[in-house]
Structures are given as C-alpha cells and as structure tokens.
C-alpha cells in the first residue's frame, strides 16, 4: 500500500528566442537566443528569471505576483498573448515538437524596453471611461449602518467581468485597436459595461456616451479578446451587451447603432439584410453617394440595380429565433 513517491520530472535543452529593444540604444527590435534547460514545472516567467539571473541581467520584463492575479507579466509566446507566470514551457515545446520558443512584447502598445510595453495610454483611455461606481441612492443607503441589497442574479450580470486583471492581453490581440489607435480597447469597454450593468450605479448615461465616443461601435466582434483572456472575462460579449444597452438607453444616433438596428429589423422583416439600403440607413443622405456608385458599377457590367428585397422562405423559423432570443433576454444575462 505505502510506496515511495518518485515524481516524473523531465528536462529539455531549449532555445528561448526573446525580442530585445532598448530605445536609447537600438534602431529597431531584434531577437536574442538563450539556451535554457527547461524542466517539468518551469513557467515562461521562471525561464525569463533564470536567463536574467544567469545569462543576461539586462533582460527586461515585468513580473510581480507570479500567481496570475496581478497582470504584470503578459507577453506573447509564439505570437499568442499569455501571462508568463501561468504558462508552462514543457507542454509548448512538446506540442510544437520543436526545441525553440519565441517570447515578444504585447502588440498595440509602444515598447519601453525589451518585453515591457507602455500601458499608460490604455490606462488613460480607461480613466476617461468613468470606470467606477457612482452611487445610486435608490439602492445604496446613505448610512454605513446598512448594506445595499443586490440579488445574486443582479450580481451575476457583471460578476464575470470583475475577474479582469487589466493585463492587456486582449488589447494586444484586438484587431480594432490595431486599426484605430483611438479605440478604447476590450478591457476598458468591459470595465465600462461592468459598472453600467450594476444596479447600484447611477451614472449610466454619461458612461455610455464615453463608451460611444471611444469606439463602442468600432469593435469588429472578431472575438480574439475572448480567445486570449487568461481570466475568461469575454470582453467582446460585454461590448455586445453594452451596445444593446446603449440603444435601449436611447443613444440611437451612431452609425453602429443604426447598422445594428437595420440588421435586426431587416432580418425580422425579410429574413435577410436589405444591403442596397444599408449605406443610407447607416450614414444618412450621404449614403446615397455609395448607393449611386454601386448602381453605376452594376449598370456598367450590364446588371439592373434593384431596390427590391425578396422575403426569404422560412420566415417563420426566423421569427422563432427572435422569440427565443427575447425569451432568453427576459431571463437575464448570465455568463453561460
């Protein structure tokens, strides 16, 4: 019954390729290669620390809690944003069947040095988003003698977002942030939704406007943020919910909200989107220029332009989907 414990611990000599850059010394980034004996249990962060301690003390990276809660150590490993502290090296080396792995700084933020990026611009965007609770006095008592009451269900609307550690992984992966430097980014919009969905908050309108102003409708819903989030906070879902909330709040006057309403309205009506009219609905009278350009193009190729949208078959199935969505919405928004 009692037997001696002999843990299986492997080791591989691996090549760790690390992107280096010191702005005051280098014109552009380059890669350094370090040979490291990777053992069972070794994380990316441990490897970085080992290299710093034994091979090159100038290697620069951030790390603090080394237990997946502070968000300091986000880097890209083989291109994917991860937390260095909670990423095991051995399985990566085994999965890729290579003895080499690359470590680079996050994207979409300026590099300060080696693996350290400047997160200040993201923090500024966050600060402009009113990322705090403003007391709703109908829910939060004036006195500290009493608690405010919030049901489990009300709490669950935003609880999943409070896992966010502001590590920036989503911002690095975000296609909208790489296309538009002024876009607030997934984590900041997630935080905005977290408060707007909190029944104890009274600041909905101004925060919503801040979100709209900072690109609420710029998100392409590519969902890369969901794939890379180390805490499973699903920012793209929060952005969707925030968009819906903005329309419910009466912020209709944005290109994005008009497009969203045209899509849902058309599909309900026709079973498909009225594409010829979309530019006009989204951009107003200016949209006619786009419609006319399309008309000209079609005519040039001998195709008759049309304003007609046929109603697709199976309209009743579409209606069922809409009914189901309404039913789910009425039940409340949960993580699952």
């Amino acid at each position: 019954m009692i037997e001696k414990i002999t843990p299986v611990r492997k080791s591989i000599l691996a090549n760790i390729r690390i992107q280096r850059f010191t702005p005051s010394e280098h014109k552009s980034a380059y890669f350094d290669n370090f040979k490291v004996t990777v053992e069972t249990g070794m994380t990316v962060l441990e490897a970085l620390r080992l290299i710093k301690n034994t091979q090159d003390s100038s290697l620069t990276f951030r790390a603090f809690c080394r237990s997946k809660i502070c968000g300091s150590c986000a880097v890209r490993v083989n291109g994917k944003p991860v937390l260095a502290c909670s990423t095991q090296l051995m399985p990566i080396l085994e999965d890729f069947k290579k003895d080499s792995v690359s470590i680079q700084p996050l994207k979409n933020m300026p590099v300060l040095r080696d693996l350290v990026v400047d997160i200040e611009p993201v923090i500024e965007k966050l600060s402009k988003m009113h990322p705090y609770l403003m007391e709703n006095r109908e829910r939060i008592p004036e006195t500290l003698e009493q608690e405010s009451i919030m049901s489990k269900q009300e709490h669950s609307r935003f609880d999943y977002i409070t896992d966010c550690i502001l590590c920036g992984s989503c911002y690095s992966a975000c296609s909208a942030a790489s296309a538009d430097p002024n876009y607030a980014g997934p984590l900041t919009l997630g935080k905005a939704y977290r408060f707007s969905a909190d029944v104890r908050d009274s600041f909905q309108g101004e925060r919503m406007q801040a979100a709209v102003d900072q690109g609420l409708w710029s998100c392409a819903q590519c969902r890369k943020c969901i794939n890379v989030c180390p805490k499973d906070t699903r920012p793209a879902v929060s952005i969707q919910r925030m968009r819906k909330m903005s329309i419910d709040d009466g912020i209709h006057d944005t290109a994005g909200s008009r497009r969203a309403k045209a899509y849902t309205g058309d599909v309900a009506k026709y079973g498909q989107v009225n594409k010829p009219m979309l530019p006009v609905i989204v951009n107003g009278p200016k949209g006619w220029a786009a419609v006319e350009a399309a008309d000209n193009y079609l005519e040039k190729h001998g195709i008759e332009p049309t304003r007609q949208v046929c109603t697709l078959g199976g309209q009743s199935s579409t209606q069922k989907i809409y009914d189901k969505v309404k039913e789910l919405e009425a039940k409340g928004e949960n993580k699952t």
Binding site: K4, T22, T40, S58, F61, R66, S86, E147, T162
Partner: protein
C-alpha cells in the same frame, strides 16, 4: 521638486484606502507612489475573505466575538485596544467598500455573503468567490480615479526624510527614466506591504514584497516592531511557493512524505491533515529534517485517491493552479509542496492612528504594526487590517496636513542617493544579486523558518552579516538608465538584508515559543518574561538594537491557546 500634501508609498489596499480617505474632500494634493501599477499590488492575491461581524450568516455573531478570536489567535500578543478598534469598526468599513461598488458575493437575501474561516468562532469572512482581495483592490483604485488621486506608477522609494520631529518627504527613483527625485510632503504614509521575500523562493508573496517601506523607516531611525513573527503556510507549491488552499485538505487530501507515509498520524492522530496551520507546517518540516522528504526536500499533498470526478467537481481551481504553476495534474500524481512564508506580523511601530514616532509619518497595513495580529494573524484579518488602519492613517494624515505647513527639506539626501546608485552602476565585477538573494532565502528558511533554535539563529545572524558585506561589492551590469530592473532588484535586496537581520536578531532574543515563533530550545510560551513587543531600532554601530514594550491588555487575560 515634487510636492504633495500627503504622499502615500504603496498602492495596495492600505495605501489606496488612505489615499481615498484623505482625498475625499478634494482640498489636498494626494499622491500615491508605487513600484508597480496600483492594480498589480499584492492585496489582489488575497483569496479567502475579510472578517466583519455583520451577522449575515450567523445572527448571533458580534464584534466582541471577533475581538476575542483575534486576541486568542494572536497568542495574546495583540494590543487589545487596537484589536477592539479593528473588530468594532469592521462592519462599517466592509459596508463602505460595498457602497463603493465592491462586488461581494451575495446571500439569498441579497446581503454580503460570509463563510467560516480558521480560528473564527462564527462564519464572518465576507468574500467574493475566491477573489476578494482582487475586487477590493480594483474598487479602491476605481474610486481613486474618480476622486482625482495622483498616481506615480513604477517609482521605487529610496529614503525617508524627517528632521527628528516632523516629516519632510521621501526620495525615490522613477524606474521608467532612472532619475532620482526629492518628493516633499507634509505627511507620508508607508503602505508598502510585507517582507515575505526575505525567504526568497520559500514564500507565497509577490516578487516585490521586499519590505521597502519598513526598511527605509528602520534606516531613518524609526522603531520597527515584532519582526520575528512570520506566519508560515503548510502547503506552498515546491517550485514557486504559491499556495494550495486549505480546501484541498478539507476535501480529504492526504499529506504524504517521500516514503509515501501519511505522516500527520505522528503529530495529530485525531485531526490528521486538518490540524491548525502552524502544527501542520511544523510537521511537514520535521519530516524533511528527519530525512523522509521527496527527492528535492518536498513532501506531498495527495488527491489522487479522491478520483477524477470529485477533483473536477470540487477542486477545479486547485487543479488548474497545480497544472499551470507546477506542471503537475493532481488527478494523476501527488502535488509536491513545502511550507511557505506567508505573512509578516511585524512592521513599523505605530499608534492607533497609524502615526509613528515622527509627526506626519504614518504606516499602515502589512508594513505597519499597531499591533492587531500579535504573534499570529487570523485568516481574513489582513484584509481587514489594511482597510481599518489605511482609513485611520488617511484620516489622521488629512487633519495633520491641513493644520501644518511643509517642513523645509534640503536636497542632500537626493544627492546621496544619486551617488549611491552611481557607485553601484560603476565597475563590472562583484557579487551577484541572484546568489546573495538565494543564499539569504535558503538560510532564512533553514535557520529562521518554521523551527528556530539559539544555535542556528546565532549562525544565521553572522551569515547575514557576511551577506551584507558581499552586497557592498554588488555592481549593476546593466548600464542603461531607463527601466533598469537589475538596479531595482539590488535596491530591494538591500532592504531585505536589513530586515532579515532584524527578524533573525529578534528571533534569537525571544526565548519562548509564541504563535508563529517556535523555538525548539524554548518550547513554551513564557508570559512572565515575554508578554512584550520587540522594538528594533538602528543602533549607532549600524546593527539593530532591541528594546521591549508592554502589551496592552484591556479585557482578555492571557490563557493557553487551544483549539
């Protein structure tokens, strides 16, 4: 020169609460200087709960029960007036956090949820799933943004300045640029957290928990208190010291030595794995000392007998943690563990308002010592401590700064610190930071760890002095000014070496066993001689000088601490 009415050093729960409290009326300039970004602070790592007798789960709970539990848990070394304030004000600060938006888990009635915790007679730990420290930290940061608190992110504090009576400010280096600055302040609140990293890899603490504020206060001549008391947690992961929570043992996990024996039968045949934290830590350590450890001096927490289904259903987070940080799947094999330094009970000596012996200088949280935790802290009381005493320090500093003017400060300290850094950056050869740090951690774990005795402690004190000498030869290889993390590591190591010596000297002097301090050569608590706080100040010879001051006892006469 930068000036703030109030400068807070450290951006964890205590620092941010102090900042909010002193900035709330928005009439003073309040700055928070932090070596990280505020939401990175180690408060975020606290998982379990914050104690307050809200009586949401057990209507019979009272703050007096909490008070007694705290004093008993401290092995009667806590000052009872301080523990009274903390436990009496607890419900109010927890509600204030909640009113600021902190998302505590809820009861069926929609109130703040509470759970039982070790050493507590009633279920009073308010929680938010397993992330209460994290959500508290974020809530305080968010409200700080709202109220216009200034943040100096990624700055490392260097020296604390005073004229012998009143606060002048600090010097600090901006890590992003490498420049040293003088920051003048009417009041400085040191809230830099604990110093668990003096055990280097044998700690659950963040890499930066290097006791910076405590060390600069000590070097500035302020007394630091009860430093020999360090709490150990029995089940830290072998490689990183990251905690595997008590839930794993609660669910039926076995502790095995390298031979595969369920060794707790030797030490606690009734309670087995569920004995109190300090007893389990000592038992693990004994197995290692007597040669029954695994191949790398570890013992094992075995869950394999629980089976895949039960582990997946009941302990999914613990499983994930073992896979991510240790590369071990507890479904397949036992988890290698070591006792790990978890919490520093000692710190900068303060009064009930967080004020030190110098007017305008305050300390709060794990960096400070009022004392409420005495010789052993209860789970759920550290998050409470930072709220209560962060708030009190902030409030008091606010009044102080309103009623006092700036004390003149000359730039001599800035010059001295700039020179100190320049000389470390000059030259190539010298001792390695990593080697000294590792040697310090190993010797602290072996000789000033779970078990202590006079002989080992004496040798620890002399080995630490050797390491201090070696440190003088350390030269920074990285010559770039901006973002020089090697330099930051050297500054942190200097702080740790100073504090490690105080811990070792205090442990050598205290010839009794109390709470987390276990002397093999003095196994009993000795109230006749040692019901006293250890006060360490920097002596003229550059070594710590010890004095002792009485413990405040108001309500509960010391009794044997049994559970």
């Amino acid at each position: 020169m930068l000036t703030y009415d109030i400068l807070i050093v450290g951006s964890g729960g205590a620092g941010l609460y102090a900042a909010l409290e002193s900035r709330m009326e928005e009439d003073l300039q309040v700055g928070v200087l932090t070596k990280v970004y505020p939401t990175r602070s180690h408060t975020g790592a606290a998982q379990g709960g914050v104690n307050a007798a809200l009586a949401n789960l057990d209507p019979t709970d009272t703050w007096q029960d909490h008070w007694f539990d705290t004093v008993k848990g401290s092995d009667y070394l806590a000052d009872q007036d301080a523990a009274e304030i903390m436990t009496r004000e607890a419900p109010m600060v927890v509600r204030e956090m909640e009113h600021w938006g902190c998302p505590f888990s809820r009861t069926d009635e929609g109130k703040i949820a509470q759970r039982p915790f070790g050493g507590a007679s009633k279920p009073r730990a308010c929680f938010s799933a397993d992330k209460v420290g994290h959500v508290m930290l974020h809530t305080l940061y968010e409200q700080g943004i709202r109220h216009g608190v200034n943040f100096l992110n990624e700055w490392q504090v260097l020296s604390l300045m005073h004229d012998g009576q009143r606060c002048q400010g600090v010097t600090a280096i901006n890590t992003q640029t490498g420049r040293v600055h003088t920051i003048q302040a009417k009041a400085v609140i040191l809230a830099t957290g604990g110093h668990g990293r003096i055990y280097w890899t044998r700690t659950s603490n963040a890499l930066g928990n290097t006791g910076d504020g405590t060390a600069i206060a000590f070097r500035a001549g302020l007394p630091i208190k009860d430093m020999e008391f360090i709490q150990f947690h029995p089940t830290g992961l072998r490689r990183t010291g990251i905690l595997v929570s008590e839930g794993a043992r609660g669910e039926g996990g076995f502790l095995l030595n390298g031979l595969g024996e369920r060794f707790m039968s030797r030490y606690a045949p009734e309670k087995m794995e569920l004995g109190p934290r300090d007893l389990v830590s000592r038992s693990c350590e004994t197995e290692v000392r007597e040669g029954r450890a695994g191949p790398e001096g570890e013992v094992f927490l075995d869950l394999t007998h629980l089976g895949r289904e039960r582990i997946l259903e009941r302990l999914p987070q613990i499983r994930e943690l073992c896979i991510e940080f240790e590369g071990v799947d507890p479904i397949e094999e036992p988890i290698p563990i070591k006792p790990t330094a978890h919490y520093s009970m000692g710190g900068i000596h303060t009064d009930l308002n967080g004020q030190t012996s110098i007017e305008g200088i305050y300390a709060a949280g794990e960096a400070g010592c009022v004392s409420v935790h005495g010789a052993n802290r209860l789970g759920g009381n550290s998050l409470l401590d930072i709220l209560i005493f962060g708030r009190r320090a902030g409030k008091h500093a606010l009044e102080y700064a309103r009623n006092n003017s700036f004390t003149p400060v000359d730039t001599g300290q800035e010059e001295a610190d700039t020179q100190m850094i320049a000389s470390m950056m000059e030259g190539e050869s010298g001792a390695s930071i990593a080697d000294i740090r590792r040697a310090m951690g190993n010797l602290m774990a072996e000789k000033v760890g779970v078990y202590r005795n006079g002989k080992d402690l004496e040798s620890a004190v002399s080995e630490l002095a050797d390491l201090q000498e070696q440190f003088k030869t350390v030269r920074i290889q990285d010559k770039t000014k901006a973002f020089n993390t090697e330099l930051v590591s050297a500054l942190e190591l200097k702080n740790m070496l100073d504090l490690a010596e105080v811990v070792a000297v205090g442990a050598l002097e205290r010839k009794e066993s109390r709470g987390a301090h276990t002397r093999e050569d003095h196994p009993e608590r000795d109230d006749g001689n040692w019901l006293a706080h250890t006060m360490a100040t920097l002596g003229d010879d550059g070594r710590p000088k010890l004095d002792f001051s009485p413990v405040t006892i108001t309500e509960f006469e010391p009794k044997a601490r049994t559970y």
